[in-house]
Amino acid sequence: MDRRRFVKSLSAAATVASVSSLARTASAQSGGNIRIGLLAPLTGVLAAGGKELVEGFELFWKQNGTTVAGRRIEIIIEDDASNPDTALQKARRLVEQRDAHFLVGNILANTGLAVAEYVKSNGVPYFISVVAADDLTQRKRIPNVVRVAGYTASQMPRPLAEFAYKRGARKIITISQDYTFGHEQCGGFAQTFSEMGGSIVQQFWHPINTADFSPYLAQIQSSGVDGVFVMETGADANRMLQQYSNFGLKGKIPIYGAMNLTDQSVIRTLGPECGGIFSSAHFCEGSDNAQTRKFVSDYEKAYSKLPSLYGFSQYACAMWINEAMKQISGKVEDRAALLKAVNGITLENSPLGRPVKMDRYGNPIYDVFIRETRVRADGKFWNMPVEVFPQVSQFGKYDPETYMKQPSYSRTFQGIKK
């Protein structure tokens, strides 16, 4: 290389350097804004759910304005591609390059766990409304990871087990997707049900994206059980409901479903095959509570569909964060204060229509509804409340310390009392 070319390349390098440092000062100067990093799976297996997550979040700010204590709120959305490595990379970028004050979002447990591990090292607050992996607020709690308007996987199915037992079910088969979310939801149900005196006859675990359920359905048919606990999400839930009905089991053996089985994201496209199914969740889009009704109709107006758990959760999450930020006058830089505010709030006016607050472990305590899918006047199906179990925490009726001594739910440990 001759000298002239050397000088040329050197000056090019210098230009690059100065441009990048310019960009940095520019972003530092906009420190007036509150920057929220929203991670959502906009591509990959959970793209549909990710979109609803973003919709729910945006709806709240559209309704309530994007200013808190005089500071503008800037929402930076990143796609986690339903992949934990991408989620981690995007989380890093949101914090280190886009200077996000805190992170919210993610759906899949593995993406959430990856991001949680990252924020563990740097203390950035991370608010999860959908990621349900039990241990995040139990055995492996990270103080700056809080389930704002979220829930743990095993929290919701426990009341359902009580409900099933009270309805007379004694012998139950469980069928569930073979991954953590399935193991944990199933475990919550199986442990409670068996401790009440019922028996778990058999447990089926199938890989995610199972096309054909008939081998399981045939066994269920000939087993003589009086109930089936079904834990399915997404396309699996869709297929399961259709095949259960095609198999002629519907109406004969009642389904007790985990919350996602009859979520709007599943039953929106289904007909009568999804009717009359019991499930349990804190949110019930068919509830006649005034605040729930208002939220549902607003959401329908904005996106012309009924809200799913994803949309609702992220909406409530935005509301919760907003309250917390108001309490600390928008000083989100003070992470300790932000976390304290988030943990201390009693959310009064959420779409649930009931006050919600956190337990001591960063997970909300909810009134959990038993819901039944019924048809609405316009032919659409939705979940209507049947019964309510007040003040259900992530530990159910157990003492937290004793509960956390038992192992986490897995395929091999379901807490079943013999």
């Binding site: 290389m1 390098a13 690059v16 350097a17 990048s20 440092s21 940095r24 906009l42 591509t43 990143e78 796609d79 992949n83 934990p84 490595d85 981690l88 990379q89 995007k90 890093r92 970028r93 280190e96 390059q97 447990a109 593995n110 766990l113 990856a114 591990e117 990252y118 090292s121 992996a133 991954y179 953590t180 897995s410 395929r411 091999t412």
Partner: protein, 318 residues
């Protein structure tokens, strides 16, 4: 000749200088991107040993890479061992995986080799996904494995950079050694090499194993960098990405693999700022490369340089 050597030395020196001052130019998050580029450059170069220099295109290097990452994270976070022993075990595991893969795959060539290595890689992926008690299944394994003095991003960058320089030199020596020349001979004509008395199978086997060793080292470094591993690290997509880096940059040239890695990772990061459809943009880039620069970027630059009079630095460095 001397001037060519001098010129090459100058370029190498300039490259080294750039690698060393990079954290001062690209601070913060960009340093971590640079770290990632270097790690994946090692992976892409290890793939290039097979794809470019031996004429065997493997689709299993993501799996070999990820095995090392898994072992490091398992050893450190689950059994609580030292990270250096863990890294050693991880690299060993990767080499063992490569040995098994090589034994099964080297007798085939062309499409059959691609398909066989793809299937072998998928086995590792399936194992990581289903062997929940060890691999953590879908959730993977998490935990910081970095020792205290590497906690800082810039320190980690320099650590990776030193490894990168040493490994690049090692790989460059390897492909330019008589052994490497034999591999090239096999690439050009297997039957001729056999007639000349070379044991093609042994050479390919060793080539595959050495390539696995380097992929394993990259995988161990990735454990340092990512503090997390899940089945997506050993998935087919990872193998494909590594291979694309090698091909886009220019198969048969280690420099190409480095450029490819930089290009793919920078594009991934830059494009995804503007659109969530960044995979599509990446796809288009690959198609365009294949259409207009089938020899990769390095190949295209070389042919441009020849066309405009200046001979490329003698018989190409790699």
């Amino acid at each position: 000749m001397i001037s060519a050597l001098k010129r090459r030395a100058l370029w190498v020196g300039l490259g080294l200088f750039f690698v060393m001052v990079l954290p001062f130019i690209f601070t913060g998050y960009k340093t971590s991107i640079a770290t990632e580029i270097l790690i994946f450059a090692i992976l892409a170069m290890s793939i290039d040993i097979l794809a470019g220099h031996s004429g065997r295109t493997p689709l299993c290097h993501g799996a070999i890479f990820g095995v090392a990452t898994y072992v490091v994270l398992y050893y450190v976070t689950v059994t609580g061992g030292s990270v250096w022993v863990g890294s050693l075990l991880g690299i060993l595991a990767a080499v063992l995986t490569a040995v098994v893969f090589a034994l099964l795959a080297i007798r085939t060539s062309g499409v059959y080799f691609i398909l066989l290595t793809l299937a072998l890689g998928m086995i590792v992926w399936g194992l990581c996904l289903r062997w929940t008690s060890v691999t953590g299944g879908e959730n993977g394994l998490r935990g910081t494995v970095r020792p205290e003095w590497l906690a800082n991003q810039v320190h980690l960058y320099y650590f990776v950079a030193v490894c990168f320089v040493v490994l690049t030199y090692a790989m460059w020596r390897f492909v330019n050694s008589p052994f490497g020349q034999t591999l090239k001979g096999i690439r050009e004509s297997e039957s001729r090499m056999r007639t000349l008395g070379y044991d093609v199978s042994i050479h390919l086997f060793l080539g595959f194993t050495v390539s696995g060793l380097f992929a394993g080292i990259a995988g161990a470094l990735y454990a340092f960098f990512n503090s997390f591993v899940s089945p997506s690290t050993v998935a087919l997509a990872q193998s494909v990405e590594g291979l694309l880096m090698a091909i886009v940059g220019g198969a048969g040239s280690l420099l190409g693999a480095i450029i490819g890695s930089a290009l793919v990772i920078i594009l991934e990061n830059a494009v995804s700022l503007y659109t969530e459809r960044w995979l599509m943009v990446l796809g288009f880039m690959f198609i365009i490369t294949m259409l207009f620069a089938p020899q990769g970027i390095v190949g295209a630059v070389k042919s441009l340089m020849t066309r405009y009079g200046r001979k490329p630095a003698q018989k190409s460095s790699q």
